[in-house]
Amino acid sequence: MDLYEIRGGRLGVITEEAEQQELQTDLSSMQSHKDKVSNRRGRAALQKSLPLEQGKQSSPSPTGADDKCDAFREEGIEENFGRREQHLEQHYNDVLQTLSQRYDKRSTRLEEEKKGKLEALYTQLLVCGQAMDASKELIETAQEIYRCQDKRLFLKTVMPTIKRIEAFAKEKVDLTVATRPEFDTPLADLTDVKAMMDSINVIPAPSAPVINPQIPNSATQTSLRVCWSLFSDDTVEYYELYYRPVLEDVPADGTQVPEVSKVNVKETHCTVTDLLPNAQYELWVTATNTTGISPASEKALYMTVPSPPVIKQRECTSCTEAAFISWDSGNTNPVDSYTVELSELSAAGTYSDATESIVGVPTCQCVVQLQKGSRYLISVRAVNIGGSSDRSDVLTVSTTGTFFHLLEDTAHPCLSISEDGFTVFYGDEELPISAMASDENAFTRCVAVLGDLIPVRGRHYWEVEVDDDTEFRIGVAYEDTERNSYLGANSTSWCMRHIVTPSRHKYEFLHNGWSPDLRITVNPVRIGVALDYQKGTLSFFNVDLKQHLHTFHYRFQNYVHPCFGFDSPGALTVHNAIEAPEYAFI
């Protein structure tokens, strides 16, 4: 029996067997899986050509906002298909990848096992070889001794050698192969791969919806119309819309984070109500189905429409060709701009529906051009990203003549102004010192008050009604005329002055303290004042007689205001919005 042969041959068998085993077990399983995969692929391919029904909603709704959402979806079928295909490919690729990873792992392990076995065998082989060499050597030694002629030498060496042989014979050589030729084939744990394969069939949780940006003019003061879409054919049972106001000052410690509100909705749109005007809201949406909840969409910022502005009637002025409108914003936070709307009274006596609009007004005031001799209704709206507010209350403007109120904060403390704002009284009573501490803007010496003339360099006409013995100063002054000076005594005011002396009535036309020498025999009780910026004239008339009294010639550099003052207690009444008589502007 030749040990070497046995062992060598068996060794070769071992390696072969091992190789075969590798291929058989894994390849077969892989093959079956691969078949399944390609089948699936085929089915998926079929499915592609049919319209995908999963995850889509039913008929489009009537509102324009929904149509817009539908439009998004229509365009998305191609995208849907693309995504679906991608999703499929990815899924199957994952499976294949996992499988090939497993294969790699297993085959390396098998390699290592083989190596180990071979090494063990080899070591054994070595040991055997050594044992064989040792026994060979012994045998040769014994044979040599046996052939030895020298009997004396023979006797000397035979005993130890015999002893050696005996010892050697006693040694058992382990001839059993250290390792078994068979390889273990542990069960391949492919449960996770199986799960992956199964999950292809399971409906995934939806992907994040896409929330649309705010559609212009879809918001009101207290509500927002929100739309979103789903760019995949995921099944969705319902959506959840979350929203919270965006506050300006959020405290650092996060204690006063605004509450998030939630609305459950089946459609891809929703109108959120009960909101604050001119406020920014953060909104996001999730989609939910039986599998789970999608990730949240991106957060969108929507804005509610502002509250309507409030026109400040007392500050609005007008003339024959324009009106100056002033208003309060009506909102605590800033808005983007304002829109001023005008409607002209037609010849038929009705206000036209067609209004003229001035958009993009940046501040809370505006000068609008108008036609002479007409009536207008004017209103204002506040505008932000969300849209326009409701209309403010309406202001009626008539362009027959110049119209203004008195600037009550310029009135000397001794003056009182009637309720309607057009009659001024300078009373007899002494005022206490406390009353003298008044507005910074008020006259302190000359008992006077300014009017609020519209800043338009055209023609303006107004009348002042006085008594025969009223000692007045009537005219115009620059807005910044010295409040501690007398009307007409400085270079910033021009006025007609009437005083009553013991002998006669005296009339002066004062500017810079100088007046021409004039006599007027009939005392005017209704004085017409005509201001012409272009011609640079300020004229005074006795309206009852149509009598021209005097004209100042001066190119007014800045805008002027009508001024009314008294030299002694009395009263005067301002009449404006009057059509200027022909003779006033010859």
């Binding site: 021409p516 020498d517 004039l518 006599r519 025999t521 009939v522 149509k546 009598q547 021209h548 010859i586």
Partner: protein, 288 residues
């Protein structure tokens, strides 16, 4: 009555012309100046009569006063007659500059040798308007009157003695204006000299031609008066003009605006400075 054109010059878009005619009131040839504004080509215009002062003829006003531009703008015909009859060869008529030639004082004289020719009041109030209305595109219902110094006196008395004549419409306000007028001739040397020569020594006959007296007694329709006076006017300080007297008697019927202008004298430099205001004053009342 035939008019003879003496001169014609285009001016301010219209024409400044001078005509001569035989006057029936004055019994001599008289010249007068007339400015025809551009508007007169197409429409009838109102007329402003201008009476000049001592020593003037029809020339002074049209060459020095600067009236044509405002007249054209306000569409007025301005008629400026001479200040007295000419070429009558009356004795003493050229002796003084403030009596006789060039000093008719706009009265109808009652004394010899003046009573035949020196009827400037009737000439200005009767003959001349008839002549003008017959020969020029005038609206006979719209006329007004103005003047300087002696002519101012003339304008005032013509208006005061003819209530409702110098106006725009029947029964509306009348208007008259004057530059440095002789307001109270009875009380000043000029007036006294002229009136005693033309009207004799009965002062009661003078009152009929004294603006102050007439104003005090006036009861006609409202008459709007504009008077401009230079403060540096030598005749003012000499007591010839006496505007205060007139002003003090004017009632509500005669609303006066009297303006005393610093630095201005009695000359045409003064007149031309304020001519625009006077034309506008009249235009206001004469506009159709």
């Amino acid at each position: 009555m035939a008019l003879t054109l003496v001169s014609s010059n285009k001016c301010a878009g219209g024409f400044q012309k001078v005509f001569e005619h035989d006057s029936s009131e004055l019994k001599c040839k008289m010249k007068f100046a007339v400015f025809i504004p551009p508007k007169a080509e197409t429409e009838k215009c109102a007329v402003l009569y201008w009476l000049s002062g001592l020593t003037c003829t029809e020339q002074n006003f049209i060459t020095k006063a600067g009236s044509q531009l405002p007249a054209a703008e306000h569409e007025l015909i301005i008629v400026a007659p001479d200040t007295s009859p000419r070429g009558c060869k009356l004795e003493g008529e050229d002796e003084s500059w403030d009596f006789g030639s060039g000093a008719g004082f706009y009265v109808d004289a009652t004394q010899e040798p003046w009573r035949t020719n020196y009827r400037m009041y009737s000439y200005v109030t009767e003959e001349l308007p008839r002549l003008i209305n017959a020969n020029f595109p005038t609206d006979p219902d719209r006329m007004s009157i103005s003047g300087h110094s002696m002519g101012g006196h003339g304008a005032l008395i013509c208006a005061l003695k003819n209530p409702g004549k110098y106006k725009a419409r029947p029964a509306s306000e009348g208007s008259v204006s004057a530059f440095a007028p002789i307001c109270n001739p009875i009380q000043c040397p000029w007036g006294q000299k002229a009136f005693s020569g033309y009207l004799g020594n009965d002062r009661s006959t003078w009152e009929a031609y004294d603006a102050t007296k007439l104003a005090a007694a006036y009861s006609g329709p409202r008459l709007d008066v504009l008077i401009d006076q230079g403060r540096e006017d030598q005749f003012l300080s000499a007591g010839q003009l006496l505007p205060d007297n007139l002003i003090s008697v004017c009632s509500k019927k005669i609303p006066v605006v009297f303006r005393l202008h610093e630095g201005y004298d009695h000359s045409f430099y003064f007149i031309s400075s304020f001519m625009v205001d006077h034309v506008a004053h009249h235009a206001k009342f004469l506009k159709a």
